[in-house]
Amino acid sequence: MGGNSPCASCKLLRRRCAKDCIFAPYFPPDDPHKFAIVHKVFGASNVSKMLQELPVHQRADAVSSLVYEANARVRDPVYGCVGAISFLQNQVSQLQMQLAVAEAEILCIQMQQEPMMPTPQIDPDDKSFLLQNNLPHQYLNFTSSSNNVIHDSLKRESIFGHDMVS
C-alpha cells in the first residue's frame, strides 16, 4: 500500500481508505472537522448513499451544501438551515418595503416638482401638456415592484406554514 494518508472520513471511521473511497476527494485529511460534522448530522452511510446517487461532477457541490446544512443544524439544533432561511426572508421583506417607500418618495418628489416647472405662455384651454409628463410610466413601475412584494410573500407562505423566527 502506498504512503497516502487516509481521508478524514476513513480516519474518523477507523477503516482502511480504499483507492476508490467515495469520501476521499471531498474530505481531505487536513480538515477532520468537515467530515465530523456531516457524520454527526447525517451519518456516514447516508452521506455515502447520497453521493453514490449523484453524478461525479455534482458531488463536490453536494458535499459543500451538506456541510453547510450540518453546520447550521449544529449551531441551531431546533431550526437549522430553516432558521437561516426565515431570517433571510425577513430581510428580503424589509428591504422590499424600504424600496417601495423610496420609490413612492421618488414619485412624490417628481409630482411635487411638476408645478414648479416654469411654463411660459401656456394657453389655459390647451390640455395637451398633461400628456407630456411621464407620470403613467412611473406609476406602472411602482405598481410592478409592489406586485413583486406581494408575489414573493405568497411564495414564502406556500413553503413555510409560519414564521419560525420571532
Binding site: V41, F42, G43, S45, N46, M50, E53, L54, Q58, D61, A62, S64, S65, L66, Y68, E69, R73, P77, V78, Y79, G80, C81, V82, G83, A84, I85, L88, Q89, Q91, V92, L95, Q96, Q98, L99, A102, E103, E105, I106, I109, Q110, Q112, Q113, M116, M117, P118, D152, I159, F160, G161, M164
Partner: protein
C-alpha cells in the same frame, strides 16, 4: 398492540410503536411521506437522537424544520435547502443595490427641487 395505532415512523420501520415513541407526536400515521423523507436523508436513529436531545417543547418545531430540510434535499439532492439560501442572498444583494440607487435618486431629485425653488424665487 393494534397495527393501526402505529405512528408513521414505526410503520415505516416495521416495528411496534411504544407508548413513549419519540416519533409518534411528530410523525402521524396519516402522513407517511413526511417520515419517509426524513428517514432517507437522516436515518431514524439520527432523527431520534436529535429530538431526544431537545426539550419537549421544542421538538415539534425541530421536527418540522428537519422535515422541510429533508424534503428539500429529496427534491434537490445536490443543494437541498441551501439553494434557497443562495437565492435569498442574491435577492438581498439585488434589493440593497436597488435601494442605494433609489436613495441616490431621491438625493438628486431633492437637490434639483431646491435649485428650482431658488430659480422660481429669483424670477
Amino acid at each position: 398492540m393494534s397495527t393501526s395505532s402505529r405512528c408513521a415512523a414505526c410503520r415505516h420501520l416495521r416495528r411496534r410503536c411504544p407508548s413513549d415513541c419519540i416519533f409518534a407526536p411528530y410523525f402521524p400515521a396519516n402522513d407517511p411521506h413526511r417520515f419517509a423523507c426524513v428517514h432517507k436523508i437522516y436515518g431514524s436513529s439520527k432523527v431520534g437522537n436529535m429530538l431526544q436531545d431537545l426539550p419537549v417543547e421544542l421538538r415539534a418545531e425541530a421536527a418540522d424544520a428537519i422535515c422541510i430540510e429533508a424534503e428539500c434535499r429529496v427534491q434537490d439532492p445536490v443543494y437541498g435547502c441551501v439553494r434557497m439560501i443562495s437565492l435569498l442572498q442574491q435577492q438581498i444583494h439585488n434589493a440593497e443595490s436597488q435601494l442605494v440607487k433609489a436613495r441616490a435618486e431621491i438625493a438628486v431629485l431633492g437637490s434639483h427641487a431646491q435649485e428650482l425653488r431658488h430659480h422660481v424665487q429669483d424670477i
